[in-house]
């Protein structure tokens, strides 16, 4: 798996891929952070509040990154080239997933730093005091990473199952932007079962679901998505 991981990192070092994903992630975080601190009647006490609020958008970006990490291989036909070099498919997918997890962890760390810095600038400009944030940031980062990885696992599974970037992104956006938002406002139990809302509970977005329930739900979704992705990837013919 080390070879697959290293080879995947070599591909991810493409500037367009790296800066595009990182830029989207940081851009989303800054936007939500500035809106959180500049527009709230009472500015949040926690400097990480913007980072927390951005977690859903960040999650969708991570989902798309994981998803395209797989569908691009199908689209370019490079999957067959990779499988000729690494025929053990579970190792190939595991190495790819691990590389994406490491990149996501790094990108989220940068996003957290940028978010806290921009929150500090906005609160200073408004002349409002801020509380201690360092300890809060560590917990917030861990939870945001877990939530992002649940989006990533679902993205990976969608990519393997649907194999088309356009179709998979369409399905993901329809679900997380449309279905879950509507369900959140119309179905009281939605927060207990839908993956995006459970991920929100983990990151601390106010809702009806306690943290422990959100954590358990997110872990179940990660397990289900990873299992489905690995089974489909291992068994399917590569015919394109």
């Amino acid at each position: 798996m080390t070879r697959t991981f290293t080879a995947e990192l070599m591909k991810l070092r493409r500037p367009r891929v790296l800066y595009g994903a990182l830029g989207a992630l940081i851009g989303c975080t800054i936007l939500v952070t500035v809106l959180t601190f500049a527009t709230a009647p009472t500015p949040p006490e926690r400097l990480t509040a913007g980072f927390t609020n951005a977690s859903r958008l960040v999650g969708v970006v991570v989902l798309v990154v994981f998803l395209t990490g797989v569908t691009t291989e199908y689209g370019l036909g490079t999957l067959r080239t990779l499988l000729l070099r690494q025929p053990l498919r579970d190792r190939l997918l595991a190495g790819k997933a691990l590389a994406l997890v490491v990149c996501t962890a790094g990108a989220l760390l940068v996003a957290l730093a940028v978010s806290v810095a921009s929150a500090a600038v906005v609160t200073a400009a408004r002349g409002t005091p801020t509380g201690p944030w360092l300890a809060d940031a560590a917990t917030g980062y861990a939870n945001a990473l877990l939530a992002a990885l649940s989006y990533g696992a679902i993205g990976l599974a969608l990519g393997v199952l649907l194999r088309s970037t356009a179709v998979a992104v369409g399905v993901a956006l329809f679900w997380f932007i449309m279905v879950e938002n509507i369900a959140d406002h119309t179905w009281p139990a939605a927060g207990h079962v839908l993956p995006g809302l459970l991920a929100g509970a983990v990151t601390g977005i106010p809702g009806s679901v306690p943290y422990s329930h959100g954590l358990a739900g997110v872990l179940v979704y990660i397990a289900l998505a990873v299992t489905a992705g690995f089974i489909a990837f291992s068994r399917r013919d590569v015919s394109n």
Binding site: R3, T6, A7, R14, V17, L82, L84, Q86, D237, V238
Partner: protein, 242 residues
Amino acid sequence: MRDMTTAISTRGLTKRYGARTVVDHLDLDVPAGVVAGFVGPNGAGKTTTLRMLLGLVRPDAGTGSVNGVPLTQPAGYLPRVGALIESPAFYPGLSGARNLAVQATLGGLDPAGIPAVLERVGLAARGASSYQSYSLGMRQRLGIAAALLGDPALVVLDEPTNGLDPAGIREMRGIVRSINQDGRTVLVSSHLLAEVEQVCDWLIVIGEGRRLFQGPTRDLLAGGGDLEEHYLSMFTSTEGTS
């Protein structure tokens, strides 16, 4: 002196997609050390057969081996197999050399061998250029360079002359010959019968997923006529009996 052990062997190899049988109880034998031509019309099952040999597609029935290792264990034989399947597939944002480095890393191969394979296919001067700037012929050559990474005993080339101009086809012929001169077995799928006749010393002809001929090319041509005439007569007789 060639080693006449078998590089590829299949018995009853079958693949179905729904109700359609694409490869139908195919028995193949490719002796080690030959250049084997794999010919048949579009949709005859050539690429599906090659994909099964390379572990990309699972057979529905039948058995087989590559370099003595069963088809069910592609991880056991693929490290000694190089392949270009259908069309070259690389990352457009990476250079040719970088693409080969990704493959070498993935396969646990020494990247120090990359300049030599680029030199061999005539891409040494363009190895640092982005893959998306490559012409079709250069892409095919990079695909062959990738197939040669790691000193494979068997090289599988699926339509390596696709889209090439006459000069490119001639150049490809030379590359295929040079690969075989190192003692490697080469299996080439092609539509260009004249090319196959010139380069291949072993021939497999399939139609509708079934084997129509297998053996030394000279055996087929012994009675006179060229490969095209024999090839067309096989399909005329098949149509007549179906």
